[in-house]
């Protein structure tokens, strides 16, 4: 180690320090803040759609705009809200929970954030020039081909997904390495907090599923940019090829969205019932089983495409199998609560509501797993209800619970509980008012993604109620923002361990110091922090004195501006594909410039002192 490495000083505050940061905690905060900002946009999309559907034959929003809102709402909520917010939690807490000073590759970590941000901005740029992709979040071929979608709208989707996918892949490799390689001494795999397990399996899914959508997007962009015929039956291509490739990625993606939420809920429930997670090892196995089976069920999105009875029967069976590990999880969460002393904080309320809402969504999922039923439910509001119950009632509620739970660790201040509970109930009531009637709409045969409907279909009442629920949720989201800003400045000082929690991050000051641990802890138990506080019989231990700490041993990675430069180069490469209408020189020139920026910053990066 060069002696000058840690004596080098750099500014700890200010915009520049955030742009060049390689601190996993700051990057986590950046991820979470961008995700919440994108959520506001995607939420406004949803409100506009619900306003349009409040009444039949409504003329509030045009057909093309509505299709754009559908696409952007789905794409943003998945790729720009749930995934990056989860990534925010991975970033901030993975090293803290496994007792590591940082992630394995701090600068790569910054790189994945900047790539993500640029990809998200590129996708959202489509609003500004009025060219929202209008093909649905799964962008089925052949509507996406140039002859049916001649404007650049679909290019925004393709390149947005491509760039966001790259960001996720880099982050996934980083966290996979961090978790498997950088645990504190004594923390064997089965002593890792369950959230870390959820993170680990999520990274595996990302690593293996992302390349498939990458190839699919390359094929689509070739079809659009150069006129190849991968998805054009007239040229010998297959329309269904896209659907298969998309769902080979897309179904693992569903578990990429929900597994972090499951991990967060497991931590919260254990903390607030003050008991260890019930059946920890079974929870680990079921997480792995869900991840594994997630790759074998993609075609259950395709029961109506004519795969034949055998494929339908087999994919239906595989899908039903997933219900088993999922069910085990649900019963284990309930048993975690059983016999506990449950404190109903806002975080706990979110986690408990997760159990109920996720179970509900999971059960309607079992209904779809049966192809005969699915042929009736497919692409109706029943499906919309189902996946909002698992992704909104499930993943999003868990993530909000995670925010209430970990906010004190991140900021040093507790969030306002009263406001929090009001927001929770607004969300609960609003959510169920919005999405429960959608089951009825589905049974009544209302197709999804229609911008208007005839008044004589019998769908009027429930649509109006859904819309009223959506507005209630919006008020909840507003209260959440108020709560965050109020708590940042006026919230109660949290102290190290406000919840009497179980995992290592709570042994650190709030917010943690930049180098995380003064001395890397040695782990002897699952729920290490709890075991440092309590004896087996529940009496309090006297906390061991902090071990001697020599600041000389701390090395912090230097800040670096190369990640943002490199990410910008990647953005340029993608942008070149939007510019053929300005002539090939500008178009190819932009991409080549981007490639040179990438190459140059890679070298700058390599020769820079880390």
């Amino acid at each position: 180690m060069s002696a000058s490495a840690h004596s080098q000083s750099y500014s700890k505050t200010g915009l520049w320090s955030w742009i060049t940061t390689v601190d996993h905690k700051r990057i986590g905060i950046l991820y979470a803040c961008s995700a919440l900002a994108f959520m506001v946009i995607a939420g406004i999309d949803a409100l506009l759609m619900r306003s349009q559907l409040a009444l039949p034959d409504n003329g509030l929003i045009s057909a093309e705009t509505y299709n754009g809102l559908v696409t952007m709402h789905g794409t943003s909520m998945i790729f720009l809200f749930i995934m990056p917010l989860s990534a925010g939690f991975f970033n901030f807490f993975t090293p803290l929970m496994i007792g590591a000073p940082d992630v394995a590759f701090p600068r790569l970590n910054a790189l994945s954030f900047w790539i993500f941000l640029f990809g998200g901005l590129l996708l959202n740029f489509s609003y500004l020039i009025g060219q929202m992709p209008a093909v649905g979040w799964f962008a089925y071929a052949n509507l996406t081909l140039r002859q049916y979608s001649p404007t650049v709208s679909v290019d925004f989707w393709v390149w947005g997904i491509q760039i966001l996918g790259l960001a996720s892949l880099i982050a996934a490799i980083n966290f996979f390495t961090t978790i498997l390689n950088m645990r504190a001494p004594g923390m064997t795999l089965l002593k890792m907090p369950i959230f870390i397990w959820a993170t680990l399996v999520t990274q595996v899914l990302l690593i293996l599923a992302l390349p498939v959508i990458t190839v699919a997007c390359v094929m689509l962009s070739f079809d659009r940019a150069f006129g190849t015929g991968f998805f054009d039956p007239g040229a010998g291509g297959y329309v269904l090829m896209w659907e298969h490739l998309f769902w080979v990625f897309g179904h693992p993606e569903v578990y990429i969205l929900i597994l972090p939420g499951m991990g967060i809920v497991s931590e919260i429930l254990a903390t607030f019932s003050r008991k260890p997670l019930f059946g920890y090892s079974v929870m680990v196995y079921s997480t792995c089983a869900i991840g594994f089976l997630g790759f074998a069920v993609w075609a259950h999105h395709m029961f109506t495409v004519g795969m034949g009875p055998w494929a339908n029967a087999l994919f239906s069976a595989a899908t039903m199998l997933i219900a088993i590990p999922t069910g085990v999880k649900i019963f284990n969460w309930m048993s975690t609560l059983w016999g506990g002393k449950i404190r109903f904080t806002t975080a706990a309320l979110y986690a408990i509501s997760f159990i109920a809402m996720f179970t509900f969504g999971g059960l309607s999922g079992i209904m779809h797993s049966s192809p005969p039923i699915d042929t009736q439910h497919h692409d109706t509001y029943f499906v919309v209800a189902h996946f909002h119950y698992v992704l909104y009632g499930g993943a999003v509620m868990a993530l909000f619970g995670g925010i209430y739970y970990w906010f004190p660790k991140v900021t040093g201040r507790l969030m306002n509980e009263t406001l929090g509970k009001i927001q929770f109930w607004l969300y609960m009531v609003g959510f169920n008012l919005t999405f429960f009637p959608m089951h009825f709409l589905g049974v009544q045969g209302m197709p999804r993604r229609i911008y208007t409907y005839a008044p004589d279909r019998g769908w009027n009442l429930w649509n109006l109620i859904c819309t009223m629920g959506a507005y209630l949720t919006a008020i909840g989201a507003f209260l959440f923002a108020v709560n965050v800003f109020w708590s940042l400045f006026k919230g109660k000082i949290a102290g190290n361990d406000p919840w009497d929690a179980r995992t290592l991050e709570w042994s650190l000051p709030s917010p943690p110091l930049e180098h995380n641990f003064d001395v890397i802890p040695t782990v002897t138990h699952l729920d290490e922090w709890w075991h440092r506080k309590y004896n087996e019989d529940g009496t309090r231990k006297v906390l061991a004195p902090a071990p001697h700490f020599d600041p000389q041993t701390i090395h912090l990675p230097n800040p670096s501006y190369w990640p943002i430069v490199l990410a910008f180069g990647i953005l340029l490469i993608g942008t070149g594909f939007f510019l053929p209408s300005f002539g090939h020189v500008i178009s190819i020139g932009t991409s080549v410039t981007g490639a040179l920026v990438v190459l140059g910053s890679a070298f700058g990066w390599s020769y820079e002192k880390a």
Binding site: N142, R274, K275, P276, G306, H377, T380, G445, L464
Partner: protein, 361 residues
């Protein structure tokens, strides 16, 4: 205290706005209907296929409802019983797991799933991948942006929007698309089938019994495209029309009768129609003998159709005139150009097109 007032005020405001909406709703000219006996209900089907689907549906619904109660009730009880008491700061017993319990709730759901899986498979193999019956009526279903074409190869009929069938007859549908991905669905006949360019998906079903007397021109079953297919996806509607056997024969006979050209306006209409024949054909007129695929719907017996513009408007003189004045206004993005017809031309064309020897509605 102030906080409570705030909440109360908020709740009152929300309820008041909801009531205002509801009042607006009440003033609408149609009935509010939130029930399940609606035109596109997925559980009120009339064919054997839908009955079989409902059978699996019922079993599954009962099982999942029981499971939900088995989760929700104990959860509520747990939350009540094990809530933290004021002032009690000692941690509860640290219970790590229970192998027997965990084994049980792995096995019991697995067993329950078998009760869903077996009927599921039974119904899949009963209806999927069947060979076509020799006595079935063959129909080629072709999705277009944004209308459905129905071809009866054995009867020489090509029509749009309305799928006419005789009652209680095996039907063999070959479903495909001329452009983007669509999906064909008439909920009361059964599940949906993707319509994909380059693929032909077969669907065999037996049409339901006719319920209404023949005067009404058959029973109408609403359907709609259910795969996002571009701008006017929401307006890509269709109907299944079930006749008695005699009614169907009369429809077949009447369908390819060319429109009469007797009155002056009909004659003028025929001349105006000459501007439409690049895209539209009417059987028995010169337009039908122009070779090549037409990109617009076949307009034979157009007057017999109940709706126009992809099923969005009733087929009346006024609505046809609205459509002809500006097709984009009714169906955004539609390929049909605005021909800038004058009002007299529209009237003539309407008179020419809207006649039919067989009214089905």
């Amino acid at each position: 205290m102030r906080r409570k007032t705030g909440i109360t005020l908020g709740a009152v405001a929300w309820l008041a706005s909801a009531a205002a909406w509801a009042k607006k709703f009440d003033e609408m000219p149609y009935k509010i209907d939130g029930g399940f006996d609606v035109p596109m209900s997925t559980i009120a089907g009339l064919t054997e296929w839908t009955r079989d689907i409902n059978y699996v549906y019922l079993i599954t619904t009962v099982i999942v409802a029981v499971i939900f109660l088995a989760v929700a009730l104990p959860l509520i009880y747990t939350l009540y019983k094990f809530r933290a008491k004021e002032g009690d700061d000692t941690p509860p017993k640290q219970l790590h797991g229970n192998v027997i319990l965990e084994f049980l709730w792995t096995v019991i759901p697995a067993v329950l799933l078998i009760f869903i899986a077996v009927p599921t498979w039974k119904i899949i193999f009963k209806h999927d991948g069947l060979p076509a019956r020799a006595d079935a009526i063959k129909v080629h279903v072709v999705g277009h942006q944004w209308w459905w074409e129905f071809q009866y190869p054995d009867l020489g009929i090509t029509t749009a929007y309305e799928l006419h069938l005789p009652e209680n007859t095996p039907v063999d549908l070959s479903i495909t698309s001329a452009d983007v991905y669509h999906a064909f669905w008439i909920p009361k006949f059964g599940g949906k089938t993707s319509a994909i360019q380059g693929n032909i998906n077969r669907l065999s079903l037996t049409s339901p019994l006719a319920r209404l007397p023949e005067v009404a021109g058959g029973d109408y079953y609403q359907g709609q495209c259910v795969e996002l297919c571009g701008t006017s996806h929401a307006l890509m509607r269709h109907v299944g029309v079930v006749h008695t056997k005699e009614g169907f024969e009369r429809w077949v006979k009447a369908h390819n009768q060319p429109p009469k050209v007797e009155t002056a306006s009909q004659r003028e209409g025929e001349q105006v129609f000459a501007r439409c024949i690049a895209c539209h054909a009417i059987e028995g007129t010169p337009s039908a003998s122009i070779p090549g695929d037409k990109i617009g719907p076949n307009l034979s017996s157009f007057g017999s159709r109940s709706h126009l513009a992809g099923g969005t408007r009733k087929n009346t003189e006024e609505n046809l005139a609205i459509w002809l004045r500006n097709p984009q206004g009714l169906k955004p993005g539609v390929l049909m150009p605005n021909l800038a017809l004058t009002e007299p031309e529209i009237a003539a064309l309407t008179a020419y097109l809207r006649q039919s020897t067989y009214k089905t509605y």
